[in-house]
């Protein structure tokens, strides 16, 4: 495991790796990020890193970097020579862009937190460039002069700069090129400014069109150097020094503004009760803390200088200068300056409207703060003219509930959310007042717009559309009616019922549980399954995104079962990751044994017409994502009753082959199941929604522009609210922490997780059985007992992972069905910020799991085994209890079995089984104790078709008497007869999942 870090020094971002890596390893790690950059060995250079050190060795940055964490007080700072890869600005941008949002570059290559810091800093520089918060300068640079673009943040950007400087980790400035004698003398703010100049200068320079410029004067030379890759300016030193001084003089107003602790701001005040008097008031607004606002009156009285940490004279000068500049933009400001201490000026409604419409923007662009009433800034949805559709429909739909039914509606116009009759609108237009207080709220009245609305109403008093279109208007997918924005739909009758139920405002009818379903649906599961049925009937796709462990499987099976009972004969295609194919098969057999299930998987699977015929004879066809694309032709031969995607995050990238194949499938209804919080991953939503409800969110590029970029890059609340409103009707997500869910759940919920064997595992398994069977059958007594137990142990190891059985320290990924599955489940648990305990009986398997989880997720994994000293063990328990501590705790069953209290975990995984329920339960109870406030999900891993499943079945059958029959160890298994053993060891065909 290596961790990548970066520090900024002079004009390069120095990327290095911890622990100390050779050039080749460093280059390989950076290359694995997929930056598109090419590096050679000679690009790497040695630098000196000043690091926390203990006994001459650098202390690891986290418990993830190999090596044990060192307590803070035991460390001192010392220089270490490290290999670095110095990146220029262009490379830095490519590198940090590739790092964005990742914790690991590749398995085993972790990205340090400092890299996410640099990514944020780069984003900040981008914002500066977007808003023009930079200036061209001429500066001395190594014996010469260079034309540079430098950051000059003001207002909110200055506040961001300060916050960002405060957040800088010291490691980001801990590298030097110098010798080991002197530790770097850097400051966070200086380093951040240097980095910002570095990025900004490159951005502006490379964006400028490299036109050939005449170079007659020094000024021409300066401009040419600002726009070309080479920043140096060659001329006489004295002339350049004079030019630099001129440039400084020229930029004085902006520099003064950016260094001043405050800026001038304007606030528009509404008239006080009943009067017509609007007011613009002058204020001083803190640069670094925009919420610090002081009325101009206090500044004239020299009262507030201390608040800004400035002297009264400077404060006054800047206020005066700012007012002078503002006077050039707004004549009313000039008029106010006749007084000695102006505090603002009065306005009438027309003046106020002009201020809102024009002056405010001009002042803002001029660098002043502007504060407007909230009804104006929110006007996006509040004060504009909007069309509302009023739908009147009968109480019950004549031909059953259908979105294709035509409904009639009347258009209505609302202003500021208030319904307006035509007469009222006309009267309003006649007022010729740009701002009108309407039923207690100020609204902008645009006569032309009102006229357009009146014309629209005249020609389109009413409309006709399908219920589907009405629904699209209601949730905000459909934007315009003629010249008007659609504000919403009001409906009575069945359409109204439909809409309120879709939006979740009224509960929909709960269906009874299907008769043929084995087991009992919990109340929330009944609601979930009814919801799926409700959307299905409407022909709408649905995404069930319940937390892991809440039973998405059984809700889905209930839906299919109900359909069959109602006479639906066609097959449903259920696509899932290979790792859960067996689990689905087992769950279907358990809950809906009457539904015939076809597994379309493995080499022997049917294709073409044979498949078509076989599919028609089954209720459920199980297949995997890999085959979705590979068997596209075969799968498209069937007219599916429904298509269900399990672990639907598999199609989150719309461009992948499997995502495209999923969207291309023809079928009746569509359902997606996922345990990840889909609604938080804006980037993944489009593909999922386009599968569920094609074209609902428009094109992918349109989605990027309207939602993804505003939400992800600019944290635009409005856009995320709109997106949530549009998608909410189609996503049902319940958390196990929801109050209503907790009440429905038992405190401890146990489930089996059926896994596959890989082909490698299967052949190892068969080899073990082949090699030992004869020996066991010819042995007796103690010898036989030993052989049986040894074989059991070997087979368990094979089921766990080939690397555990072979003890060859080989690669891990993709070789064990269990390992793949636990990684998938952990990913969900981690996304929900849940804590997990993982038990295994084998120390070697513990090592494998720790390595794999660490390297795949870049997180710390605690591991407690028989060899862990007492002191360390207590510390691990404490750290697991710390809310900021590690979230995965591995325990070997014996070590973890007694005397521990780990009630923070909400998931308990038994990666392999101790064939003794008593021992397992004792381990589970580490997490489940008195005082436990959350539900605990216990996942017991079983390889289907292997001895694991068979022993599990034996225990289940004798559960009530288990304590007596199986005793306290696993020895009871050696008492089985040869025939029983032969049956126990035999590998069933369905075990292999490839």
């Amino acid at each position: 495991m290596i961790v990548l870090h970066a520090a900024f020094r002079e004009d390069r971002l120095l990327v290095w790796a911890e622990p100390e890596a050779k050039k080749a390893a460093l280059l390989a790690a950076v290359t694995q990020l997929g930056t598109g950059l090419k590096f050679k060995l000679r690009d790497a250079h040695e630098a000196v890193a000043w690091l926390p050190t203990q006994d001459g060795q650098p202390a690891p940055s986290s418990a993830l970097a190999d090596g044990a964490a060192v307590p803070d007080q035991d460390c001192y700072l010392a220089p270490h020579v490290v290999e670095t890869l110095p990146l220029c600005a262009r490379q830095t941008i490519a590198f940090l862009t590739a790092c964005a949002g990742k914790r690991i570059a590749a398995p085993g290559v972790l990205l340090g937190d400092d890299l996410s810091y640099w990514t944020a800093a780069m984003c900040f520089c981008g914002g500066l460039a977007v808003r023009g918060q930079f200036l061209p300068t001429l500066v001395r640079e190594n014996d010469g002069w260079a034309a540079r673009w430098m950051p000059a943040p003001t207002g909110a950007d200055a506040a961001r700069l300060e916050a960002l400087a405060k957040a800088m980790p010291p490691c980001a400035r801990a590298l030097t090129w110098e010798t080991k004698d002197q530790e770097p003398e850097t400051a966070a703010e200086t380093t951040l400014l240097a980095f910002s100049s570095f990025i900004l200068d490159h951005l502006v320079r490379s964006a400028s069109a490299a036109e050939s410029r005449t170079k007659e004067s020094l000024h021409d030379l300066w401009l040419a150097a600002l726009a070309s890759p080479d920043a140096s300016v060659a001329a006489a030193d004295s002339e350049l020094a004079a030019l630099a001084a001129r440039i400084e003089e020229w930029q004085r107003p902006i520099r003064v503004a950016s260094l001043a602790p405050f800026r001038l701001a304007f606030r528009l005040h509404e008239p006080e009760n009943g009067t017509d008097g609007w007011q613009v008031k002058y204020l001083l607004q803190g640069t670094k803390d925009p919420s610090l606002l002081v009325p101009a009156a206090d500044a004239w009285n020299r009262k507030c200088a201390a608040a800004f940490g400035s002297d009264a004279g400077a404060l006054r000068e800047q206020l005066l200068a700012s007012l002078g500049q503002a006077a050039a933009i707004c004549p009313r400001v000039e008029a106010s300056l006749k007084q000695a201490a102006p505090e603002g000026y009065p306005l009438d409604a027309t003046g106020a409207h002009q201020f809102l419409r024009e002056t405010a923007a001009a002042l803002e662009q001029g660098g002043f703060g502007v504060m407007l009433p909230s009804w104006w800034t929110r006007r996006g949805t509040q004060t504009r003219l909007q069309a509302h559709a009023r739908v009147k429909s009968p109480a019950a739909a004549s031909a059953g509930l259908s979105l294709e039914a035509l409904v009639e509606f009347d258009w209505e116009v609302a202003l500021g959310g208030e319904k307006m009759s035509r007469a009222e609108l006309a009267a309003l237009a006649r007022l010729k007042q740009p701002l009108v207080k309407l039923r207690g709220q100020w609204v902008e009245v645009d006569a032309a717009q009102i006229q357009a609305a009146l014309d629209f109403l005249k020609h389109n008093p009413s409309g006709r559309a399908t219920a589907r279109e009405v629904m699209r208007m209601a949730i905000g997918v459909e934007g315009h009616a003629g010249p008007l924005e659609i504000g919403g739909v009001e409906a009575t009758g069945w359409v109204g019922d439909l809409l309120t139920r879709l939006e979740g405002r009224t509960p929909f009818a709960e269906l009874p549980q299907p008769e043929a379903l084995h087991g009992v649906l919990r109340p929330y599961q009944l609601r979930g399954y009814s919801w799926l049925d409700f959307l299905k009937r409407l022909g709408l796709g649905a995404c069930l995104a319940d937390d892991m462990g809440l039973g998405k499987t059984v809700q889905t099976l209930a839906l299919i079962q109900r359909d069959r009972a109602e006479g639906e004969g066609g097959p449903v295609l259920l696509v899932c990751p290979t790792s859960v194919v067996n689990n689905w098969r087992k769950e279907a057999a358990r809950f809906t044994p009457e539904l015939p299930v076809l597994v379309h998987h493995g080499i022997a699977r049917n294709r073409g017409a044979a498949f078509q015929k076989a599919a028609a004879e089954h209720a459920i066809v199980l297949s995997s994502y890999a085959l979705l694309h590979r068997d596209q032709e075969t799968l498209s031969r069937v007219d599916w009753t429904g298509v269900i995607l399990d672990e639907a995050q598999n199609i989150k990238n719309a461009g992948t082959k499997q995502a495209r194949a999923a969207r291309a499938l023809a079928g009746g209804y569509r359902i997606a199941l996922t345990g990840t919080p889909v609604e938080n991953n804006v980037g993944d939503l489009w593909s999922l929604m386009d599968f569920l409800n094609p074209s609902f969110l428009g094109s992918e590029s349109g989605f990027r522009k309207r939602f993804f970029i505003p939400i992800q890059v600019y944290a635009d609340r409005g856009a995320s609210d709109r997106l949530r409103r549009i998608t909410a009707p189609f996503i049902l997500r319940r958390l196990k922490t929801d109050k209503s869910i907790i009440a429905d759940l038992p405190d401890k919920q146990e489930m089996k997780v059926f896994c596959n064997l890989t082909r490698e595992q299967a052949s190892l398994y068969e080899a073990v059985v082949r090699d030992t069977q004869a020996a066991i059958e010819s042995a007796e007594g103690i010898e036989r007992k030993g052989l049986v137990l040894a074989t059991l142990m070997k087979l368990k190891q094979v089921c766990n992972h080939p690397a555990q059985f072979l003890k060859d320290n080989s690669a891990l990924d993709g070789r064990s069905g269990k390992l793949t599955r636990i990684a998938e489940m952990l990913e969900e648990a981690l996304e929900e910020n849940d804590r997990s305990l993982i038990f295994t009986q084998f120390t070697e398997m513990g090592d494998i799991l720790q390595r794999h989880i660490r390297e795949s997720f870049g997180i710390e994994v605690l591991y407690l085994h028989g060899g862990t000293p007492r002191k360390q063990r207590d510390r691990m328990v404490d750290r697991f209890a710390d809310p900021a501590g590690p979230r995965v705790f591995l325990l070997s069953l014996k070590a973890g079995g007694t005397g521990l209290n780990l009630t923070q975990a909400s998931h308990v995984f038994h990666f392999d089984r101790w064939w003794n329920p008593a021992v397992e339960n004792q381990a589970t109870d580490r997490a489940f104790r008195i005082g436990q406030t959350k539900n605990v999900h216990v996942h017991k891993f079983v390889c289907a078709g292997t001895l694991e499943e068979k022993i599990d079945e034996m225990i289940e059958r004798k559960k009530d008497v288990a304590g007596r029959v199986v005793g306290t160890g696993e020895a009871w298994l050696s008492e089985l007869s040869n025939a029983q053993l032969r049956d126990l060891f035999a590998l069933r065909k369905d075990a292999v999942g490839e």
């Binding site: 937190d113 023009g132 957040a167 400051a187 964006a207 000024h219 020229w250 260094l259 662009q365 660098g367």
Partner: protein, 287 residues
């Protein structure tokens, strides 16, 4: 049109040598100076009745023949490229106003915010002329006696076209910074502000570089990233509607003192800021 000298020798009209990288007037045609005070300055020159030399002066100013201008208290020096290889040296001396006069001015100005704020905002308030008149002086030199001009060119007439060119460019410069008029009359910006009680001794606005911060030896602090602002990139740029930042920044910066580039600085800046905004948006949007 040439001219005849005292000895009846004819001198053909002289052509100035092409100057490279001189100061170019921002005005391409018509009058010089946009503000009322700049126009007033030009009027003084034009009232001297120097005929065709005015026009040539304008041409010189627009062609970039003026190589440099320095404004000191009560004295302006300049270099102008004429027909000889060596540029001509020009000096304009303006009568500085006495300390008593300035004190009087300051006293009558201190009561209204408009004077200080307009001056600081880069404007010469109209009222300033009246204030000076009340003190018995004028803001601009009105008679030839108020000015002493000198040029190293062989032309005997004074003011010559070289002086006229400098005079025009000064007008444009006063447009940009009216405090230069005060300086010409013997009063610096900071001095004047102090005089009217607006601020203490002059200080340059300078960001102090923060002192070095020692690196912590505790791993817990050494590697720790603090809380990051969640709106790190700020608001979305409105790439369709409102004009981009370029225009606004260029406007806030105003004119460059004695610009000598072949193109206008405003155009260059607008182009650069707008191109950078587009490119930066692409970067943060991860394209």
């Amino acid at each position: 049109m040439g001219r005849w000298d005292f000895y009846d020798r004819y001198f053909p009209p002289s052509r100035p040598r092409t100057a490279k990288g001189g100061i170019r007037a921002q005005s391409k045609r018509g009058g010089f100076g946009e503000s009322w005070w700049a126009k007033r300055w030009i009027t003084v020159l034009e009232s001297f009745n120097i005929g065709a030399r005015l026009q040539r002066g304008r041409r010189y100013a627009r062609d970039g023949q003026v190589l440099s201008i320095e404004i000191e208290k009560g004295r302006i020096t300049a270099r102008v490229q004429g027909s000889r290889p060596k540029p001509y040296e020009i000096a304009i001396k303006v009568k500085a106003l006495s300390a008593t006069v300035w004190k009087k001015v300051a006293d009558s100005v201190a009561g209204q915010a408009v004077f200080a704020s307009k001056l600081l905002g880069g404007e010469m308030p109209h009222e300033m002329e009246e204030v000076l008149r009340a003190a018995g002086v004028s803001l601009f030199p009105e008679r030839y006696n108020d000015l002493t001009t000198d040029c190293s060119c062989p032309d005997w007439s004074n003011p010559c076209k070289h002086i006229a060119a400098v005079y025009y460019l000064l007008g444009e410069e006063f447009d940009r910074d009216p405090f230069l008029i005060f300086r010409m009359r013997g009063m610096d910006r900071e001095e004047f502000m102090t005089l009217i009680g607006e601020r203490g001794p002059a200080r340059r606005p300078d960001a102090l570089s923060p002192p070095p911060e020692p690196l912590p030896a505790a791993p817990g602090r050494f590697w720790k990233v603090g809380a990051l602002p969640d709106d790190i990139a700020g608001e979305a740029p409105d790439l369709r509607g409102a004009p981009l930042a370029g225009a606004a920044v260029a406007r806030r910066l105003g004119r460059f003192p004695f610009w000598r580039g072949s193109g206008t600085l405003q155009d260059f800046l607008e182009g650069a800021y707008n191109a950078a905004a587009t490119k930066a948006a692409e970067m943060i949007e991860g394209k």
